[in-house]
Symmetry: C2
Subunit: 405 residues, 2 copies
């Protein structure tokens, strides 16, 4: 059901990062479900995690380990989120890290654990631990493509992106991500792993990742449900050589920031394109806000309205539901006469009602496409925000009624 | 699909109020779609309207007329919401009021118009105007049951409630309501008309209605989509005689307030039971909040989570999705260790994970019922709020993908 999701591109290796993927049987047999990234000791790592208050055990532990030390391994399992698992969940996450630390001869705090999928069931830590020797033995620089498949859950296809020849020093930037429901990253269910060979110290890396995530992963929503396990992790190995980037605002940082922004956007949009039950990829663009906050709140209200989403599923240019969503999005003093709505290039509503000269067939033509842009002008300021979302289909209900996340 | 919606009870006449219902052909032929209430000149009327900023033409006009004068007629059409219809919509609403005022020999401001269903299409005002003589000729005290049918849209059955013998003076209280989607009254798509023969001056009536609505209609949600046309109207004719109730806090007011609270709750819950595609009637009860606001926000986040709602549809005791919804409901300093969740009497989660001794079959037994109570204790204060909602089914998607509201 994915909407114009491109096939997995070639994912170039990043010097200083190796990956391995195995079938550990975490939940299901005969599928890749455990991925390991091994990182050079000289690398810097930054990450952003979910803001959901119920944060999974691995999220809490990964955050602690990231603060404490210098990550050498990222250990990622699908099949079980190890969330809502209480003290046992904490112990299981730690046990996996300890086993890997012993086998890999690093400190326990050098292992960051990531888990995803089913909430509330005990993690089969022993199966993960048993798979560690096999993982370590098969680490390879060119393991990204298989890793992209190994982290999936209800995703229908792997998601990855790559940029090469960035800036004058020809840096490489490679990343993979997974969705596909419980998605309103803040951070989201979503996991993404990105690496570059550029030399970026940790503080600068954190700043650059924060900027990129805020414009990409933190602007997508599938169902408004922020997951307990979201994380985006960025590694900079510095193996390309050259002097370190000493500021996120420096000229040296600019091409890397641009590439990182683009890559995060590509991965974030790939997550939306493969959203649970998605039949449309929808850009909701709200301009003319007095503040960015109100423009963003309006964009999210539209993007998460069940009535707007079912109209999108039906291909119905239902501007009445759009007006209703805008009207409840929190602007108490909104002058509805100043609001206009376009579907792609078609003006459908203005001055509180249908636009003069609007023809239903023009709206229907836009809505028949798999990709639609809803542009709202609130007519009260200069702030603008964009979010990306999907429709609400029978398939979304089926997936989430049949599947336990 | 309605969930345990009781059949329409006997709706006792209220002295001083008459109703009539006709087929005006507003949108569809051969169905009741126009209802008129005629009110004694001595009666007091109070109403609450939607807070959506895109308020329909009839809502704006009804509010103005209510402030200006003494309502004598409530004119209600289904089939067209006359919302998002710009200047023409205002003119159409006014034309209907003027025609009725002329025929009924009252001021135009004595007519309150109400419209519901499709947003953004011009109202067939001429059909409504043409039906007015027939309405006036058939006004009758016992017209409530037919009126309950005449205001419906995607509702599957009429909704009404009645209380008799209220307080020492044997007051009567009769009301009808309609849903059934775009429901998160604030106010909501929802219309309700209630009348009593108790003697209640306008100011006191407004206060009593506000209290009742806040505890009932403003605590239900079907899809989180606040409609452009919601209104609840209460008429007090005073025809039962006796001295007027001079304060909402007086001993005389108490039995009427209690009956009004109960009746509003009955109607509000009937709207939820008949929510679009509903297969479950769900009470979400959040206790232990530090403030009412955070308890209410938490209850609404659970009630409107697509993942929780699809789990409810599936009959899946998915406490992980409940924890995830609680965790994103806005309490930045929530201590997850203090949170507990019951499904009916079954403790399913505590201390951030599954409850000790919880057995899946106990949760499944509760979830198999058509009526479910989710009780959350946040463990950080004394505030408590309750909202009522439905699940999210294939049928909700079908109704809203096929039907234009």
């Amino acid at each position: 059901m994915a909407v114009n999701l491109p096939p997995l591109p070639e994912l170039a290796p990043v010097a200083g990062v190796r990956c391995a993927t195995v079938q550990a049987g975490v939940r299901y047999p005969n599928r890749d479900d455990l991925v390991l990234f091994a990182i050079d000791p000289e690398a810097a790592t930054a990450a952003v995690f979910t803001r959901n208050r119920f944060r999974a055990a691995p999220v809490r532990l990964a955050e602690r380990h990231l603060e404490a030390g210098s990550p050498r391994f990222l250990l990622v399992n699908t099949g079980n989120a190890n969330a809502g698992t209480g003290a046992r969940g904490d112990a299981d996450a730690l046990a996996c890290c300890e086993a890997l630390a012993r086998a890999g001869e690093v400190d326990t705090s050098a292992v960051l654990p990531y888990s995803t999928v089913v909430i509330g069931e005990p993690l089969a830590a022993e199966r993960i631990i048993a798979a560690i020797p096999g993982l370590l033995a098969t680490l390879a620089a060119n393991g990204w493509a298989r890793a992209a498949g190994g982290i999936l859950t209800t995703d229908t296809a792997p998601k990855g992106a790559c940029r090469r020849g960035i800036g004058p020093r020809n840096w490489t930037l490679t990343g993979i991500a997974k969705g596909a429901g419980m998605i309103r990253p803040d951070m989201a269910t979503m996991l993404a792993f990105i690496a570059t060979d550029a030399p970026v110290p940790r503080g600068v890396l954190r700043q650059m990742l924060g900027r990129a995530v805020d414009r990409s992963f933190n602007r997508i929503t599938i169902d408004g449900d922020t997951s307990t396990n979201d994380a985006v992790t960025l590694v900079a190995t510095g193996r390309a050589g050259g002097p370190p980037i000493d500021s996120a605002d420096s000229p040296e940082a600019a091409p890397l920031q641009t590439a990182l922004d683009e890559l995060c956007m590509e991965l974030a949009q790939a997550v939306v394109r493969d959203g649970e039950g998605a039949t449309r990829f929808v850009t909701v663009d709200v301009a003319g806000g007095r503040t960015g906050e109100e423009a963003l709140a309006c964009a999210y209200t539209i993007a998460e309205s069940p009535l707007v989403k079912t109209a999108l599923f039906a291909g119905d240019p239902n501007w009445g539901r759009l007006l209703a969503a805008i009207g409840r999005s929190g602007m108490d003093d909104l002058d509805v006469a100043g609001v206009s709505i376009h579907l792609d290039d078609v003006l459908i509503a203005e001055r509180g009602g249908v636009a003069e000269g609007y023809r239903e067939e023009d709206g229907a033509r836009v809505m028949a496409q798999p990709e639609i842009r809803i542009h709202v002008d609130l007519g009260r300021g200069d702030a603008r925000e964009t979010v990306w979302t999907t429709d609400l289909s029978y398939e979304y209900v089926r997936i989430n009624a049949e599947y336990r996340s």
